[in-house]
Symmetry: C2
Subunit: 211 residues, 2 copies
DNA sequence: TATAAAATACCTAAAAATCAGTAGAAAAAA
DNA sequence: TTTTTTCTACTGATTTTTAGGTATTTTATA
């Protein structure tokens, strides 16, 4: 644990949010706000020249978005801890920020306590979410709710091969089937997923995590 | 917080693991192991008849796999807290267990301390990972590492429409372009992603989270 | 063992996609 | 203001997919 205060940066395109966070963090004894930035580029430029221990990040930003920014920050400075503070409630966004290196995700209406708690958890190397975010993550997604088609073994197999970009002929050769049979399975898949072609099929299947 | 001990179930197809966990948890004052199960079906049957507060789950199971089992458990008993204890180190698997309702994911070589800590975090409603798992989550995935193609604005736009299952003609109509132009973009996309057709394209693009 | 579900295979014809190029205009970057 | 990139559009030939179906054989399941 560093004896110094945490050199903390705020990245948000709303000056009011920046000011508000500054006020809130003022009282934290182990935090020192070293800057507020309205977009990713100016922050990255700062990061190249200065040490930053902690950054509170918004997702919606002019130019580079917060998700991509996470990756770039980690690329520049692996030790900088990222907490995302956003209003986005889509699970995919939350997941991706974490995959891109963030140590936590809070909604902007989180309490100061939650923020404080997440900072301390993140410092310990943990990943931390605010309560509402945990609800979002745990709640089944729309894609999963909408009845997913029941696939047979063969269909799953052929679906996987289609996803690899193989033609009916390729697949037929591989599975020792007639290409016409493969066509039939392909047709049934397209029907089951209620899509128009293989492109839509692959898309629907990945969304339902069948690939 | 319940004054009773946590009614805890273990689901793993290795009897040795079950026994080991029983031994470890024996000393925990707030935990009472109510059963060990070798597969998902027998556990679900038990869950229908008995209250279970906590379940430690393996991913690799005969029959229903652990990821799907998470959903079924939550479906049956929303209050049952699920911790996954597995050897799988693929990020997609970790992510999906969480999306399916698990409150934490630990590798089997985790320390008892970590397990104890995760249990208490999970009880508080938090999501908790063991150290190695956090590393896996934060580490950029293979898919993301391998040079992702640089797409132009038009290409991204057409890629998205292709993913919806639209034909070149559809897209051309929508964007007021010649279908031949759309064909060119499509061709360039296929080249950039080094795939053979649109199916492979959609697959590659989703893997690199471009869709 | 009936019965249902899955897997196999075929037909015809139209629609769409892919390959392998070229090339001018517009926009963005140096 | 060059230079480069992106966007646009085309030719022509070939391959593949898609949309209607039908129909027999296996394999599970009741």
């Amino acid at each position: 644990m560093p004896t110094d205060k945490l050199r903390t940066a705020l990245v948000d395109d709303h000056p009011i949010v920046i000011e508000g966070l500054k006020m809130l963090l003022q009282n934290e004894e182990n935090v020192k706000v070293v800057g507020g930035f309205g977009n990713g580029d100016t922050f990255l430029a700062y990061l190249k020249q200065n040490r930053v221990d902690l950054v509170l990040l918004d997702i919606t930003l002019p130019g580079i978005n917060g998700m991509d920014l996470c990756k770039m920050i980690k690329n520049e400075s692996l030790t900088t801890i990222i907490l995302v503070l956003s209003n986005h409630t889509e699970r995919s966004i939350i997941m991706q920020t974490i995959q891109n290196g963030a140590s936590g995700y809070l909604l902007k209406n989180s309490s100061v306590d939650e923020l404080r708690n997440c900072i301390s958890e993140a410092l310990k190397g943990n990943i931390c979410f605010s309560k509402e975010v945990i609800d979002i993550i745990s709640r089944p997604s729309k894609n999963q709710l909408q009845g997913r088609p029941q696939l047979t073994r063969r269909e799953k197999q052929i679906l996987a091969l289609l996803a690899e970009g193989k033609t009916s002929q390729n697949i037929a050769d591989e599975l020792f089937l007639s290409p016409l049979t493969v066509d039939t399975h392909r047709k049934n898949l397209i029907q089951k997923f209620e899509v128009k072609n293989v492109a839509g099929l692959i898309m629907a299947a990945t969304q339902q995590q069948l690939l």
